[in-house]
């Protein structure tokens, strides 16, 4: 006999009760989310819409609620007030051929719902490879040349984003390639609409905070629309030097914005000495992989950090001297260890002292 997972059953029941309760209370003015899902800009029917309470659609739990899109790609799901992550998925069986998985997270995740109905902007699903990357089609893609001050830029990274709502920053890109010594690049892609950005960091990293003097730019005519079987030549893709003013401006926005919900403390080594140049990262997912939701500025000589959070909630806190990618020797790394799972619960508007986070050098 198959074992019944009581935890999953309880969650489902809870979701059912909540949804039923909301439905009963708000018959006239239902609270929830609605919108349209697309694939290659066409409405996509039969798409599974999953609502999670945590980012990264934590696979250890069932979705909080699910629905599917209709023939016009429309979906509507009743939800109580709260903060949600919406994931859209569709498995496409193609008569004997390989099964394709289409998937996308709502670009504006997390979605704050404070009563009433919220209509989300339409967004495209994209085909996922085994590693989550975009799956290219034959003879389809984009090419060009990265240029700064009329000179080709070697070893710049060109990033392909499916959505622009995150500002073409962060690790949510579907593909990233490095320009050749003559500045040229070529990226095989599926047909569709993409947003391109290019960056060259002084330390050569694929990801991380841009420093003054790094090169940065987005394609002047974003989005790029690619047709089946065509490689689009962009020509010269201009990037410019990051200046102190633009960097400061960027740090006032998004993940770096100043808020009144704050975690603070000190980064120290195992001997208790302050460590400079370390960032604190806040995740909503206990695995602390993927994209952090908030990032502090790097610590100074006193090792102090302030991690400004957009909202109260439960966060998992890590610390590292660089952004993104696997750990490399010479990096500082650590986690907030007052609790074994590195978790901190904070209320909106609260300021919490984490005391210290011990970081160690990785060799």
């Amino acid at each position: 006999m198959k074992r019944i997972d009581l935890r999953r059953l309880s969650l489902l029941l809870l979701a059912f009760i909540l949804l039923a309760g909301v439905s009963a209370c708000n018959k006239g003015q239902e609270s929830g989310l609605s919108g349209t899902v697309l694939f290659q800009d066409q409405p996509l029917s039969g798409t599974q819409i999953e609502i999670y309470l945590k980012e990264e659609q934590d696979r250890a739990t069932l979705p909080f609620a699910t629905t599917s899109s209709d023939t016009a790609g429309r979906y509507r799901i009743a939800l109580p007030s709260g903060r949600y992550y919406l994931i859209a998925k569709k498995k496409v069986e193609s008569g004997g051929g390989p099964t394709r998985m289409l998937m996308a997270a709502a670009p504006l995740n997390p979605l704050d719902l404070q009563g009433g109905s919220k209509e989300l902007a339409p967004f495209n699903l994209r085909e996922m490879g085994r590693d989550g990357a975009l799956v290219a089609e034959a003879d389809t893609g984009v090419k060009g040349r990265i240029v700064h001050d009329r000179k080709p830029v070697a070893n710049a990274f060109v990033y392909v984003y499916s959505e622009k709502s995150a500002g073409l920053i962060g690790p949510s890109y579907g593909e990233a390639v490095r320009s050749a010594s003559d500045g040229t690049f070529s990226i095989p892609l599926p047909a569709g609409k993409f947003y391109l950005a290019a960056r060259k960091r002084g330390d050569g990293a694929r990801s991380g905070d841009l420093a003054v003097g790094d090169l940065n730019g987005s394609w002047q005519k974003n989005p790029v629309t690619l047709n089946h079987g065509e490689t689009t030549d962009l020509g010269d893709f201009h990037v410019s030097i990051v200046k102190e003013e633009s960097r400061k401006e960027r740090l006032q926005q998004g993940k770096f914005a100043l808020t009144d919900t704050t975690l603070h403390g000190r980064m120290v080594d195992q001997d208790g000495k302050a460590v400079r140049g370390v960032y604190a990262f806040a995740y909503l997912d206990s695995r602390m992989v993927g994209k952090p939701v908030y990032i502090s500025a790097a610590t100074g000589a006193d090792g102090r950090f302030e991690l400004r959070l957009g909202d109260g909630g439960t966060y998992y806190i890590g610390a590292r001297s660089t952004f993104g990618g696997p750990l490399e020797p010479g990096e500082w790394v650590g986690t907030y260890d007052a609790r074994p799972n590195h978790m901190v619960a904070i209320k909106k508007g609260e300021v919490l002292d984490l005391d210290r986070i011990i970081v160690r050098e990785v060799w």
Binding site: H148, D149, K151, V153, A154, N155, G202, D203, G204, V212, G213, F281, R287, M288, V289, G318, A319, R320, G324, P326, L327, E328, P329, G330, V333, G334, T335, E361, V362, W363
Partner: protein
Amino acid sequence: MKKIFILAILLLGAAPALGLTITRDTTWQGEREIREEVRVESGATLTIRPGSKIIFHSGHLEIAGRLIAEDADFRGSGWGGILLKGCDNSTIIRNCSIAGAKTGLFIGGGAPRIEGTTLQNNEVGIELKQQSTATLKDCRISGNRKVGLFIKDESSPHVSGCSISKNGKYGVYIYRSRPAGFTGNTLSENDTALMISNAGSDPRIQGNIFSKNKIAILVDRAARPLLTENFLRDNQTGVRLYRRADAAIDGNRFERNHEALSIAYSSYPRIHYNDFVGNRRAVFLEFQSSNWEKSNGSTVRESEAESRGAFGQSSGHAADAEARRRPDAELNGTIDARHNWWGEEGNRELNRIGTSGNPSFIHDGRDAPTFVDGGKEWPLDRVNFTPWQSAPLRRAKESL
């Protein structure tokens, strides 16, 4: 007119700089104090004349164009060092001294030439990234607190004739890179003179001298270098192979080391045509078992790979290439150490005990038949030392 221009430059040089972007060709001479970032833009050349002394109170010198520095002294305390970003081989730092920086010289891409230059008392002496093909020749890299020379990010520099000594953690650290040449260098009195780490690091290390280091060469995490014609003497450990380090060790001389060769955790090297002379022990095996590897290797490697999230926690990612064994490595319970010269004493002993004996200079499964892991006993591998050479091969040179 030219003299007046040079005089003007010299006068300008006397004043402290407060952040500077150089957009056209500029010459520095004499003493100059820097307090913020100085950037030389692409297309511009900064020439620093012999005898110049550049003192950094903070900031750094960033070169996106070209730097020509000769017999100059760059120093400070905790400054950001010199950053060469994509500089081609017309950038030359020759007979200079760079001291007191976080990273003395950062080379991001390009192919600059660094010759006869001393890097000392920095946290990191030189760091190469972004597939740099720089040339480092006759440099002295000494007393840097963490790493003397850090080669990362698929860089492939030529490193020759350098003296690398007394660096804190590592004299040279090669991480996922393959230097185009690493030869004729002397590495002495480092904690670990040369670290070669991770899959993708398979350089040819040839004709170098390693002396008085705690560990002369450490090969770790599936790196597979060729170590050839090196002279290793008076080290605590000559070569340590650790965690699936299937190196080729060919034609080296191991002399007066406490332990010439240490092999641990599923490393299966090929050890041929080396001279082992006067070492307290020639080969030492620990936690090394073909049986263990066949039973657990792939599972352990998977879990090792999985535990590499951004913060060292479980990431749930699939095993990566570095966790996989070289497909042609044989798992037959032996380490291949044929055709070596084991020294006069070793030779006499081998002639006495024969091919089935247990040489005193090798510690292997003949001495400790098993080890315990996970509550189970595993057979310790044995070293296959037959046939052996009857005279020294002398392929490694004692001096450069």
